[in-house]
Amino acid sequence: MIRLYVSTVLEAGADNVWARIRDFNGLPQWHPGIADSRIENGEPSDRVGCIRHFHTRDGGTIRERLLALSDFDFTQTYEILESPMGVEHYVATLKLTPVTDGNRCFAEWSAEFDCDEGREQELTRTIADGVFQTGFDALKRLYR
């Protein structure tokens, strides 16, 4: 099992950032790597169990299921059902925690997954840098 973890500090309150990122169908509105997204079967995007179906800017199709959503501790957990990356048992969590000194929050994005031997480093880099850190960098630009 590969585990990876990326975290940052965003210069905005947790509730403010959460309002933007809690929408499971909202990735294209803030993540530069995502071209479009829809929720399958017309379900609401905050229904636990719903499936988002989206395309990355390089043309990949990814389907992910929402496993947990908490407006109490600003947490979203999801799994990958289908992707071109070659990962299995992939579960990721995006979480915000308020930083009480100043109007900012601590953001964490973690994932665990299995993959073919020898691909660990490449996938870790693709996901940690290309997906998570790229998303955080976009949020940092929004809130600086």
Partner: protein, 486 residues
Amino acid sequence: MLQKVVRSTVIDAPIERVWAVLRDFNSHDQWHDVVAESRIEGGERSDQVGCVRSFSLKDGNRIREQLLTLDDRQYKSTYCIVEATVPLLRYAATVTLKPVTDGNRTFWHWESTFATPPGRERELRDMVAQSVYEAGFANLRRHLQRGGDLRAPGQAAMPVAIALPTRRVVLNGYGGAERLQVEDAEVPAPGPGEVRIRQRAIGLNFIDVYLRRGQMPTLLAPGGTPGMEAAGSVLDCGEGVHGFLSDERVAYLGPAPGAYTGIRNVPVAWLVRLPPAVDDAVAAALLLKGLTADALLHDVAPLKPGARWLVHAAAGALGQILCPWAARLGAQVIGTVSSEAKARTARAHGCAEVIVAPDYRFAEAVQALGGADVVVDGLGRQAQQENLAALAPCGHWISLGQASGPPAPLEPDALLAKSATFSRPLVFAYAAQPQALARRAARLWAALADGSIQPPTIERFTLENAAQAHARLESRERSGALILIP
């Protein structure tokens, strides 16, 4: 009703360093201002789960607390009050640290629940939140900044605000390498916004030679100290400096010379942190040249795949970084060198074509390859006509250096026939904003890590031998980077 207090902050230090202090259940009297004395009862170790610490506070109160959880994997410690002269009832608190991976900082979360006598809820909540938690954040920050965690208990704090002796190189008049002399000096305590650095490696650049010769008199007058970059560690910080701790490894480049010294004060805006994989010598050898390459490739002439880049002195310190990096990004790199030996070096560093041109005659050969879309020119005067002739239509001629003498005045109309662009950049302008500097440095270390560029070949000289190092820098036999070791 149970009261709850939550406070959190971000500390500009790696998590291991913050945790090393906080996991010690008996450390508070070394860093927290409210605690006068701390001891562990019964002679137990301070990391023994179940141990009890006995605090005497500066206001005369006494508190006994028991360690309930110590988790080195999740950086977490939980403890409760077993007896206290302040009315905090059923008080249990948890300290949790998490790494901020983007910046190597630490998120620190401190929370507790407790009961109070009726009517005193707010007073005691404020006391815990402000006098204990928020004050603790500020006190630990100060403790780390002073390097208090790096000393053995009882050992005196590093003397602050005193001048420190060092050796430095001074220019006793414009001219040859022999004009560089070494003398004793004192470095005062860092001023507001400054950081005092103990330097461990100093990078040499061709601009140092131009300064010594008097070709840039506004930048360095006789009596001054040359040198634009170095790597080392933080000694202490002046007023208003946040984010750097004593002993932290750093490197800098700056637009004002003065780097040929053992200890130096520099503005905090010049500093970058060094990742563990980059040692001091590599940082000093790479930073200015690497950031120059980064600025050329990403901003001065943003690289287009397939573009032909003509790089002079391709086996030199800058060439060894720029050529492989440009090639990795998709350029066709044509290098010029002065000897066959250097041609082999250049080919091993990303040059698809190498022209041996000790007499600066290369334009015809470059035109036979289709002309240069970008010329990176460190040659200056004697190659001026050849550079213009080597350009492809709409080419960009970047004048970076003047190894063969300062460039002669250029008529704007000389560019007209090829609709060419001429620029004369200095790297410092491209590293003037701390964010831009950090972004460029991160790209440079990443390029080193992923093999886009190779670690430079480094020649070391002592600071006392700065004159010999300059003579070596000016000799055309050399390739690779030179550094001084104070």
